[in-house]
Assembly symmetry: C2
DNA sequence: CTGTTAGCGCGTTCAC
DNA sequence: GTGAACGCGCTAACAG
């Protein structure tokens, strides 16, 4: 690779017979420049192939137009879609994104946040994990705005964008109950997951309660959100309760795994067994039968989070520091009910 | 958010009764510091909660430990997995990643590259698109190393990491041919796609040729790599050639779309019809029947690219500027052949 | 409308 | 081992 000598704002100034300040002005679109000199400067810039150094600019202005994004796993369909929403809005507001995977490991999360702060990001988007006191502390010590994406802190102190998971989960289970199933199993997220797992399981319990049914933990299993775990959980559930005729799952991958376990056990879906998932990732509409699921506005959660962050960074007025986005039910072919009964 | 007054290297120096130079040395692990003063400095750093400013450091050292990644679409399963490989290795070498989506639009690609250069990334990873003369030019003018990921420039001038797609495609089609199918359709990538589409289609043609069969473009369709387009293409193919009994697809999504079109047309897969895909994304093993496909080492392509880039950035010795990674055939249940016949 | 002048926070010689 | 001083490239008052 060649070793281009870097040409600076000073070179442009000299060549154009103006001061650095003037060059800086035209580069930054400051209107206080006579059209003639602006034209001249622009020309020199083109000729010299001048390209402003964002690092120097960042040091001088204390703004990097870069935001940090801590994400559990970019290769996960759910997070990838959220990330897309983030990036699109970031681009719209002229920000770039530093993306890093945490795998939900707290120690990594904290280190990443630290690194991003050192890089002087103008703001931070934190996706996924549980917010511990350690997180609180580092966020509080931070001089830049932070928005939680698809998660919340339990005390609801920090800004966040999310859906009401308990309610969403409850409605999904309600669909199954409305179909008249008497034994409805549940395949949960990992049980140490306070943010996703607990509220969704709670929604399941509440649906049962409201329908006058008993919660029975012998027909609940905990998966790791992946396909395989859904498959296995379903096999166990079938063994544990042969009378079962429906299952709600806390992720679409697990739901599809369950679907296949049922097919392998010669249970027809949805004729003999109903299945409902959570998230509505593309997979849900790429299997047969098409999976009924809770439609989680993944892209929007990302987009709205990023937009909220820009408001903080640009000191715009904030109407709501914490936003609950609506979700909906996508009733397809793994359930019988096709419309929500009001 | 609070307005923490930034504490700098100077503050640490004053507080520890040493010079800035010394603080800089301990922060950067320079051995030329007496253990006692090192200890002292470290202590002050902790007390003050000093956090080095990477922007200032970048300006002074002309290194940002950040690399730019231009990617077509992070919400696409294939690219997301490649990105994960990139990020993991980047982390390992202490680099951060600025990620931006190009949607394969050339104008956006060029602008992104420009922006990343301005941000003084230490290196650039370019995924996906076709390398035009405009790309060549901007890369050539760049002062930082560039590695092409999962693509190549036609003149093979730039470093890249990829697989031999023509060969991979040929082998996939060979599987179908070896099963004895006489009419093997093909669902291609968009036909303007020089990097993916053309070589894979070429592989299809070559397989036919080597088997003494005629290429017939009436049984070839062009999709957009998505599920829907695969579904539609398959329907058209069935209409165009009712005798068809097998189809090769240039992406797994399209293959699964085809699979479902076949099921909807009452064609049993693999008994009456064989289907093979390309990439081996998770979806391929989350549908029934399990999809046979070309296993593309997505994660590895990302990881190896990033590793290669670090070699350039760190001025390590480069054994190969262009690396072809091996691929393999993942023969599952959408084809009958379970082993490659040698 | 334009130029001068300070820094921004840190790495890096070069002396001591 | 340690410190003083310069400079990285640019923005931001402030003057004029």
């Amino acid at each position: 690779m060649k070793k281009k000598e870097t040409i600076t704002i000073y070179d442009v100034a000299r060549e154009a017979n103006v001061s650095m300040a003037t060059v800086s002005r035209v580069v930054n679109g400051n209107p206080n420049v006579k059209p003639a000199t602006r034209k001249k400067v622009l020309e020199v810039i083109r000729n010299l192939g001048y390209r402003p150094n964002a690092v120097a600019r960042g040091l001088a202005s204390k703004k990097t137009t870069t935001v940090g994004v801590v994400i559990p796993d970019i290769s996960n369909a759910f997070y990838a879609e959220v990330a897309r929403g983030i990036e699109d809005i970031a681009t719209m507001y002229n920000y770039n994104i530093i993306l890093s995977n945490s795998d939900l490991r707290q120690e990594r999360e904290l280190r990443l946040i630290e690194t991003l702060m050192e890089k002087q990001v103008d703001g931070l988007l934190f996706l996924g994990g549980t917010i511990t006191p350690a997180h609180q502390e580092i966020f509080a010590a931070s001089s830049v705005p932070v928005v939680l994406v698809a998660t919340e802190d339990l005390e609801k102190k920090l800004p966040f964008v999310h859906i009401d998971q308990k309610e969403a989960s409850k409605e999904a289970v309600m669909v199954l109950l409305a179909e008249g199933h008497k034994k409805v199993g549940y395949i949960s997220n990992p049980n140490e997951d306070m943010v996703q797992g607990v509220p969704r399981l709670e929604g399941y319990k509440q649906a049962l309660r409201e329908t006058g049914m008993e919660y029975d933990d012998s027909i609940v299993r905990y998966g790791d959100n992946g396909y395989r775990s859904g498959y296995q959980a379903m096999q166990e559930l079938l063994k544990a309760e042969p009378e079962m005729t429906a299952v709600a799952c806390a992720s679409d991958e697990m739901a599809v795994g369950a679907l296949h376990a049922l097919q392998d056990a010669d249970k027809k879906v949805p004729e003999a067994f109903s299945v409902i998932g959570f998230h509505n990732i593309p997979l849900a509409s790429q299997v047969r039968p098409l999976l009924s699921t809770v439609s989680y506005p993944m892209y929007d959660v990302g987009a709205v989070s990023m937009r909220l962050l820009t408001k903080y960074m640009l000191h715009e007025e904030i109407e709501a520091e914490q936003v609950w986005l609506p979700f909906s039910l996508e009733l397809r072919n793994s359930t019988n009910l096709k419309q929500w009964p009001e």
